[in-house]
Symmetry: C2
Subunit: 237 residues, 2 copies
DNA sequence: CGAGGTCTTGAAGACGATCAACAAACGTGG
DNA sequence: CCACGTTTGTTGATCGTCTTCAAGACCTCG
């Protein structure tokens, strides 16, 4: 919850009443174990899920079992704020690690749009930043070579962790190379090879479920990273 | 304008007052010629642009000039509704063909969020469907082979045109193969080759700036197309 | 009629996938 | 705390898809 508010306040000032209302809206936190589906494609959830701790991902699947992850969530992210209006989910959401989540009923979100228009705009903005991240991923998958794709992912995560008050140059990353492959549209083997290349360049270490960025300038150069899309400016909305 | 309302009403019922307010919000239409930028990266527009006729696209560029299109808009699409809250644009929007556009001032959009909460939710939903399309494109770029990518694009366009009342099995498509390559993350040469393959399969004809779908079942099979993500159900929001 | 853009075709090469095998790390139960 | 099985990471070899380069055909529009 605090992580969410901290992130939202990087983009717009919130009134104390708004923060209090948002905090009250959350149902008690719940644990989810790794590999469990939080939402299955076709579900029509009655509440939106806020990620308190852990990693979750959105995914689409093919008949033959191959999958593509379309988003990666960290603490403070609303993993399915869009289910409030989208109703039936066109994709699933899975817990990549053990997670703590809290739910906000859709009825409460509706009240926000009726009675707290400013807060509603801030939440709308949050879904729009989600879209901006999607666009960057599209650029990655469409035009960036494998090495740049992995580098870009780490750049993005570093900035996103800094928004929720975590050390951004060294963060927990207990995902398998196979999962990363499903995210970047690469095979597991190739993820392994480009990871080694990043290590050989000396820009990161990635071991034991942790990533440490050793050379930020070098990493951003390889990734051609420009953080503008993460909307760090704090404007009234 | 009518196209927008027609599309929105496929997802939620609108009151006559809401439709009237939305129609009044539009400034007089304006022509834009092919190749012209409607928005440049870094711009902070004071109005959102509605596409009345033609094709526009969102794009990201690299230093070396290569580009990746991240969205394709047809008539009835709000090409940058998100600029209302996102403020400074992280990407550009270009007219791929001669276009007619109309603008809606951000101040008016703000009034909608303050005084027309239901209409605001419908517009929010529209940006969420945008996100759903992004996710499908991510799946395409990440995991679909070139043939399936092109087939999927035509499936999506067919459904989207049907939502705005156009013949969906035969639509105007005056884009170059190079532009399609920038959309699908492919080289021009390869777009040419997979297009010929789709023709050879007898599922489409694509000539003289028009696409005709000859075998919908075959096309959707090649694309592994599932239209769920376009949110065709009409629910109260 | 000419010129520039677009489409088409061929050949060579690169990047990443797939297959296969082994090593290392992890977790679980004895 | 160790043994064992399973998952994850690593490496090599081969293969396929798509890219790049190059050149010629077609088309459109002044």
């Amino acid at each position: 919850m605090n992580a969410l508010i901290q992130k939202l306040e990087r983009r717009a000032r919130l009134l104390d009443e708004e923060k209090a209302f948002l905090a009250d809206a959350c149902q008690p936190p719940r644990k989810v174990s790794a590999g469990e589906d939080i939402i299955r494609p076709g579900d029509t959830p009655q509440a939106s899920t806020l990620l308190i701790e852990g990693y979750t991902a959105r995914y689409g699947t093919f008949d033959d079992g191959r999958r593509q992850l379309t988003a990666l969530h960290i603490r403070g992210d609303f993993v399915d704020l869009h289910s409030f209006l989208l109703r039936t989910m066109d994709h699933g959401i899975t817990a990549l690690t053990p997670c703590t989540i809290a739910q906000v009923p859709h009825t409460t979100l509706k009240v926000i749009t009726e009675q707290w228009p400013h807060l509603a705009r801030v939440l709308w903005l949050d879904t729009l930043v989600d879209g901006a991240i999607h666009r960057q991923w599209l650029v990655s998958l469409g035009r960036r070579p494998a090495l740049g794709r992995l580098a870009h992912l780490f750049c993005e995560l570093s900035v996103r962790f800094s928004l929720v008050g975590l050390d951004d140059r060294c963060f927990s990353f207990p995902l398998t190379q196979s999962t990363v492959g499903d995210m970047l549209g690469l095979s597991t083997v190739h993820v392994n090879r480009v990871a080694q290349e990043l290590r050989a360049e000396g820009v990161i270490t990635w071991r034991g479920g942790r990533v440490q960025i050793e050379d930020w300038a070098g990493l951003t150069r390889i990734a051609e990273f420009d953080p503008m899309y993460l909307q760090l400016a704090s404007d009234p909305v």
